[in-house]
């Protein structure tokens, strides 16, 4: 078995697909229902062709309701998942207009668009036996969730991850009044360096967590912890953080865990 086969085609049970689907859809619904004005945003004309922003508000409103319905139906239907991916592609960039700062990638729906597009092409799970075709969709969804960590390192450069720069980031967010505990980072150089090195390791480790369960067991909880700590220290909320749940190994059963433990 080649590495490619081991990574993408090791048999997985259908419940792993069901769990991934529930997480992705619940997360997308959470954000979509939290931005019920998405259909009424006045989008920039120059991007209208790219995102299909070509309709009047009455039609946009119908499409928005259709998105919610398709997201719910996508729990059971691949066709609905395909439709939801298309409509989420249409609406997700507009979330930027309804939440403070950043670009579409700063908000939570980017990975959701890709994940729904992947889940639209999964074989039927009802009554199915474990299959290689239940593995690659999970790997790709995890890749979509891990991508921001790796590629933000590419964008920042390794030199970004220093204690003084992390302290300056904290100063920036303290200055704009969103980071109530920024002084913990600003006043303690060791903590700033710990965050810098720790975040670099987590960011580089996340792509490895896609292909290694052992790495995932260590890195994913650290990433979750970092996102929680970033709220009081920097005032930054990573809306895609709940999608880290797709890294839980839903292939394992309590029996197999007990068996491994006893072995």
């Amino acid at each position: 078995m080649t590495v490619w086969d081991r990574v993408f085609f090791a048999p997985a049970p259908p419940r792993a697909i069901i769990a991934t689907r529930i997480i992705v859809i619940a997360h997308a619904l959470w954000i979509v229902l939290s931005r019920p004005g998405l259909w009424s945003v006045n989008p920039p004309r120059e991007l209208a062709a790219r995102f299909g922003w070509l309709f009047d508000p009455a039609i946009e409103r119908v499409l928005f309701i259709a998105l919610i319905a398709l997201l719910i139906a996508a729990l059971f239907s691949r066709v609905a998942s395909f439709g939801a991916a298309l409509l989420l592609y249409h609406f997700a960039p507009l979330e930027e207009a309804l939440a403070h700062s950043g670009d579409p990638f700063m908000h939570g729906l980017t990975a959701g668009v890709l994940a729904l597009a992947v889940l639209a092409f999964v074989p039927r799970v009802r009554g199915a036996a474990p299959s290689p075709d239940f593995r690659w969709p999970i790997v790709l969804v995890r890749f979509a969730v891990a991508a921001p960590y790796l590629f933000s390192v590419v964008a920042k450069g390794i030199g970004w991850f220093t204690g003084p720069n992390i302290a300056d980031v904290a100063r920036t967010f303290a200055l704009i009044g969103v980071a109530p505990y920024a002084s913990v980072v600003i006043d303690h150089a060791a903590i700033a360096w710990l965050i810098a090195i720790g975040w670099l390791l987590v960011s580089i480790g996340m792509p490895l967590a896609v292909i290694s369960r052992r790495v995932a067991v260590v890195i994913v909880p650290l990433a979750a912890l970092a996102h929680i700590a970033a709220i009081p220290l920097f005032g930054v909320i990573w809306l895609a953080a709940p999608l880290l749940l797709v890294f839980v190994d839903y292939s394992a059963t309590p029996n197999s865990s007990a068996h491994r433990a006893s072995a």
């Binding site: 597009a117 590629f151 009081p232």
Partner: protein, 162 residues
């Protein structure tokens, strides 16, 4: 034209996905689908090109050494007793809130009637990506706009009447 080219990777992914189903999950079609997904992600990420939803993710990518140049405007609501309250604008749609702040105070009481971010899920609504403080004070009579910069905090505008 360039804008439309940016759609191509996502469109190609969907076409490759349809081929996966049409060939009843043949290994060749699935491999092609995986290659498109991972390839487009890597082109966007490593070349730092916007192919959204394949994204370069330049999250806070600049050096923060110029933090002293940061400027931020904060809104505070004032109640009947003249006490200031932190004002969380996130439950409002950003566009309606900014319209209220930049045009006139009389528009503000109307904003809760527009669709707001917490309209459906209430306190379970997804927050903004930056931490904000306090709940909106819907019976406030005055809004004050403060400017924060490295020199401190200054009142720049006040809307409403007491």
């Amino acid at each position: 034209m360039l804008t439309l080219l940016r759609v191509a990777p996502f469109a190609l992914l969907l076409v490759a996905g349809i081929a996966v189903v049409a060939t009843k999950w043949s290994r060749r079609a699935v491999n092609a689908f995986i290659a498109v997904f991972v390839g487009a992600s890597c082109v966007a990420g490593f070349a730092q090109r916007d192919l959204w939803p394949f994204s370069p993710y330049p999250v806070i990518a600049e050096s923060a050494s110029r933090w002293r140049e940061s400027v931020w405007y904060e809104v505070r609501a004032v109640d009947d007793a003249g006490v200031e309250h932190p004002f969380d604008a996130s439950p409002f749609t950003r566009s309606s809130f900014e319209r209220a702040v930049t045009r006139s105070w009389p528009a503000v009481p109307a904003t809760p009637r527009t669709i707001s971010n917490d309209a459906l899920l209430g306190s379970f609504a997804a927050p903004d990506s930056l931490l904000t403080r306090g709940r909106p004070l819907k019976d406030a009579r005055v809004l004050r706009i403060y400017r924060h910069d490295v020199n401190g905090t200054a009142l720049v505008r006040e809307y409403g009447s007491r």
